[in-house]
């Protein structure tokens, strides 16, 4: 094959029609740019969701009370107080591989200190909570297992709560009044940001669950139990063991529904990422359509070009070009248009998504894989849509091509 000179011929032909080449490539530029930007937005959203799911902690199993049916009405998670402190202790004792258990009660209430007050969420937890959620303190110390046993009036607070009440003052050692009960603040949590549901996770007060039940919520049941496993391989087995343990403890006969729900972190993550995956695919597909339109633009222009250059093709054939040389020449023209368009499109796509990140604060994530795929795809568009016109050119009869007016 005489590829190198044919390549020159093709490039020269593109240069001869600069405006047309640029406009044709523009279709691909827009298509590839849109794919890169859209997939970037989708992946960014997915990565954000994944990061938030990961912030739940590692190898976590969540047990919610509720999901019971009373008189045919199903309550939501945590809707019925079926989880007892003893259930959590049984899990801690009997399920192998458990490295942390946190009994959780949740309440929202007014808290106050000095002349400031703030409406926030109160989380009652065990001392394992900070390990389970991988949520270290920015300052101070967490409460201890001893504090939990004695239901001591201590708490740690989130960054938002600290700022709202104490401003720039150091809250550690200060007294926070919750339902008129004075709690000593022992630490401030590191900021975690927004949850997948958009809740400010730093707007929080965390205290021993015993203290919370006794002094704040007043209830005797847990909203949920957070369990952390040491080994991810044990999660599925532990989930089954927890279910049978709790069914047994709650005296649920075979055939009846559980009065609790066990969810692994992975299940939660899958549901959440499925949504963003659908979004990515959808955005990518819409952008893909514009790439397709760009490809049809290339085919259109190549067909015009073949017709317009029929005489040139005839001359080339007369001086010895084979059908394959002509085919290669037009294919190279099409692929050059599409892949140069693809390269510029990649740059535009990256530019567009960084603009979205900067000005619209949308998380975007552009992977090397998506760039490589976009480039290869644009080259493939050139081959695919360039082939028909190129073959048409190669099949021309030299005598007729030379006579073409």
């Amino acid at each position: 094959m005489r590829v190198a000179p044919t390549f020159n011929v093709a490039l020269r032909a593109l240069r001869r029609n600069k405006m047309r080449s640029v406009l044709t490539a523009l279709g691909i530029i827009i298509g590839v740019g849109a794919v890169i930007a859209m997939v970037g937005i989708g992946n960014g959203a997915k990565a954000q969701v994944e990061a938030q799911i990961a912030s739940l902690g590692e190898n976590v199993i969540l047990i919610f009370s509720g999901s019971t049916t009373s008189s045919g009405i199903r309550t939501g998670w945590g809707g019925a107080g079926t989880l007892k402190i003893e259930d959590a202790e049984a899990i801690r004792r009997e399920v192998p591989g458990v490295i942390g258990v946190s009994e959780e009660v949740v309440s929202t209430t007014q808290v106050a200190a000095g002349n400031q007050n703030w409406f926030t969420r109160i989380f009652g937890e065990s001392a394992d909570y900070f390990d389970i959620r991988q949520w270290p303190l920015a300052d101070g110390t967490p409460f201890t297992a001893q504090d939990v046993r004695s239901a001591n009036k201590v708490c740690v607070i989130g960054r938002t709560t600290a700022t709202q009440i104490y401003g720039n003052e150091n809250p550690i050692g200060q007294i926070l009044r919750i339902k008129n009960v004075p709690f000593t603040i022992t630490g401030v949590l590191t900021p975690k940001g927004l949850s997948p549901q958009g809740v400010d996770q730093d707007d929080i007060v965390v205290m021993p669950f015993t203290s919370a039940m006794k002094r704040v919520t007043g209830g005797t049941t847990l909203r949920n139990i957070n369990v952390q496993m040491g080994d991810p391989a044990q999660i599925t087995a532990a989930q089954q063991q927890i279910i049978s343990l709790l069914r047994q403890r709650h005296n649920i006969r075979p055939g009846r529904d559980d009065d609790f729900t066990v969810r692994t972190q992975q299940e939660i993550a899958e549901t959440a990422t499925a949504t963003s995956r659908v979004m990515t695919v959808l955005l990518g597909a819409i952008a893909g359509v514009s790439l397709l339109v760009g490809g049809i633009g290339i085919m259109n222009i190549m067909l015009v070009s073949v017709t317009e250059r029929t005489r040139e093709i005839g001359v080339r054939m007369a001086v010895g070009a084979r059908g394959n040389d002509i085919l290669t020449q037009f294919l190279i023209e099409a692929v050059t248009l599409s892949s140069v368009g693809g390269l510029i499109g990649i740059i535009c796509g990256i530019g567009a998504s960084s603009l979205l990140s900067i000005y619209a604060h949308w998380p975007t994530l552009i992977s090397v894989a998506s760039i490589a795929i976009a480039f290869l795809f644009s080259a493939a568009v050139g081959v695919f849509f360039g082939f028909y016109p190129a073959r048409k050119a190669a099949a021309l009869d030299p005598i007729e091509a030379l006579r073409y007016e």
Binding site: R2, P5, T6, V9, R12, R16, R311, E312, G314, V315, R316, M317, A318, V319, G320, A321, R322, G323, N324, D325, P398, I399, L402
Partner: protein
């Protein structure tokens, strides 16, 4: 015949060569247009020796263009054989014909058929792009410049066709035809788009090339242009009507010297 016997440039490939690069044996060409069968060439046998300058003449519809296409390996005979440089090319496929055209045939057309917006040098280089031999950029350039100066276009290598006169464009086309040192130069009405003086200039170039041993076959319908050739073959109704040597071919160079304008780049 008045063909000048020059030494063979290539050793004969078969005994069919006989020093004649072109041998047509009972060549027919039929076309089918709908129900009608057009018999464009109806049994032509012709031998053209190396170094001849043949004018192929005839009215339109005489079959001379069809015969030209067959001679130029642009088309295949429906029946009969065509030996080009000793090898039978009547049964070759498209790609093989393309290679033959590249190596053994140089074309000159009535409407020049140069690539637009492409320099004279690049136009002249065109056959080498499709040549089996791989030449460097510098070699291409050198060869192109040599043939361009041989047709009197030294100094205009970078001109585009639109910057050249008709005669100059036809010279670029001749340079392109010559660059691969073809066995035969085929010219299809080479002066059809040129004024009479420029036509004589082109004929002068042809005669000079012919004196250097290049075989030229030229299709024309103009009697005075055919007068520059050494042999005239006249066709009618798909057959050769007459085939005669021109005893006293017109001398284009001499005519130009006696013409009033003498600003020739020869």
């Amino acid at each position: 015949m008045s063909g000048i016997a020059l030494g063979d440039r290539d050793p004969p490939e078969t005994n069919m060569n006989n020093g004649a690069p072109v041998r047509l044996i009972d060549v027919h060409k039929f076309y089918r247009t709908g129900e009608m069968e057009v018999r464009a060439v109806r049994g032509v046998s012709l031998e053209i020796k190396r170094g001849e300058f043949v004018a192929l003449m005839g009215a339109s519809g005489s079959g001379k263009s069809t015969l030209m296409n067959i001679l130029g390996c642009l088309d295949r005979p429906s029946a009969g054989n065509y030996f080009l440089d000793g090898a039978d090319v009547s049964g070759l496929n498209r790609d093989q014909l393309a290679d033959i055209r590249n190596r053994k045939i140089g074309f000159v057309f009535q409407n020049f058929n140069l690539l637009p917006r492409t320099s004279a040098r690049e136009n002249a280089e065109l056959p080498l792009v499709y040549s089996a031999q791989h030449l460097s950029h510098a070699q291409l350039r050198q060869k192109a410049d040599r043939v361009l100066s041989a047709v009197g276009l030294a100094g205009r290598e970078d001109h585009h066709p639109s910057q050249l006169s008709g005669g100059q464009q036809q010279r670029v086309a001749i340079a392109r035809a010559l660059i691969n040192e073809p066995e035969i130069l085929l010219a299809d009405e080479p002066t059809g788009n040129l004024d009479s003086r420029t036509s004589i200039e082109i004929m002068a170039i042809f005669q000079q090339l012919n004196e250097r041993g290049i075989t030229i076959i030229m299709v024309t319908h103009e009697q005075d242009i055919a007068a520059y050739a050494r042999r005239n073959v006249i066709m009618r109704d798909g057959l050769i009507l007459d085939d005669h040597a021109v005893l006293q071919p017109a001398n284009a160079t001499e005519q130009l010297q006696h013409a009033p304008e003498t600003d020739l780049p020869m």
